[in-house]
């Protein structure tokens, strides 16, 4: 019995959410191909409200609106590039999960390659050093045995 108020309190956020007038009507696609294209597109676009979610997953009201907007643009025959451009013009490159190769995103693209090269260098260096000092390694092993 005493749990009832707690349960009711847990449901309160749902009420608050209802005020945001989210359009919950499912989108009706012409064919599965269009639906696949829509899913692909919304999965690589970022929801600006919950920034670690994509537009396909997010339940934020803005994500609903943007999905509707994208759907309408698809119905109007606009290409994926045009739709992305529409969003970039309004929200910036940040909406793209795959950032374009530009001056300020250079580090994103170059850093992994650089790190790989540095890692390979370190491994190569330590291997060649071990080869050069076989006695020291053997000596270490011996001291280990003596104990």
């Amino acid at each position: 019995m005493s749990r009832l108020p707690v349960l009711a309190a847990l449901l309160l956020p749902l009420l608050a959410h209802g005020q945001l007038q989210v359009n919950q009507e499912p989108l009706v696609f012409d064919d599965p191909e269009q639906q696949a294209r829509f899913t692909r597109l919304t999965e690589e676009l970022r929801c600006l409200v919950c920034q670690n979610q994509n537009l396909a997953d997010s339940d934020a009201p803005l994500a609903h609106d943007l999905r509707d907007e994208i759907f309408e643009m698809m119905q109007a025959g606009r290409s994926d590039e045009e739709i992305k451009q529409f969003l970039i013009e309004r929200y910036g490159d940040f909406v793209l999960y795959r950032p374009p190769l530009k001056g300020n995103t250079m580090v994103l693209w170059v850093a992994p390659v650089l790190m790989l090269l540095v890692g390979a260098g370190v491994v190569g260096f330590s291997i060649s050093r071990r080869r050069r000092l076989p006695d020291a390694a053997a000596g270490d092993a011996q001291t280990g045995d003596e104990r």
């Binding site: 945001l20 007038q21 609106d65 943007l66 907007e69 309004r90 929200y91 910036g92």
Partner: protein, 179 residues
């Protein structure tokens, strides 16, 4: 010799990386608006308390103004409200309200409760115009110059500091160059 200092060097590099991450973390979530330097997105919206009347950007050009996106469901807008009210009362900058994703009745009730600082509020019921402005949070404010170009965007509640240090100096500069 080198290997003795290697952990220290790695530690310092890691420290530097984390320090950079910490200092940019504040600005990281604030997306720079691609609209800055561009004309205000066109709109044609009904006036909140007189829906028969419709207004667009051309009705506001000629003098600088601030477009403030607000809604009755927006908690931070209540926090920001006294700052907007003071600004509007001072007469130093026109504040145009853009009420978005809101029921007009709720919006009017909100203004009745807290006071109406806006020169006028227009109603973007379905949020289409706010998408064209790239608004993703509330409140958001756009400073528009007399030629109708967006010169500054602030996301979140306006503070007296932002007004005094950033927005109002920009307005003064516009007025100085205009006259």
């Amino acid at each position: 010799m080198m290997s003795r200092f290697l952990p220290l060097i790695l530690f310092l590099l890691l420290g530097a990386l984390l320090a950079v991450g910490l200092t940019i973390s504040d600005t990281k979530t604030h997306i720079p608006s691609p609209l800055i330097g561009r004309p205000v997105p066109d709109f044609d919206l009904p006036v909140l308390d007189d829906p028969a009347r419709r207004l667009g950007p051309q009705d506001f050009s000629g003098a600088p103004y601030l477009i403030n996106f607000w809604a009755s469901w927006c908690v931070t807008c209540v926090v920001e409200h006294p700052v907007i009210t003071d600004l509007a009362r001072s007469g130093r900058l026109r504040v145009v309200g853009l009420n978005f994703r809101d029921e007009p009745d709720d919006a009017l009730g909100w203004l009745a409760r807290h006071g109406d600082p806006y020169a006028v509020s227009v109603s973007d019921y379905d949020g289409r115009v706010s998408i064209n402005f790239g608004v993703y949070a509330a409140p958001e404010s756009f400073l528009v110059d007399p030629q109708g170009e967006i010169v500054y965007k602030h996301i979140g509640a306006l503070t007296p500091e932002v007004l005094e240090e950033t927005i109002l100096p920009m307005v003064s500069a516009m007025q100085a160059s205009g006259s």
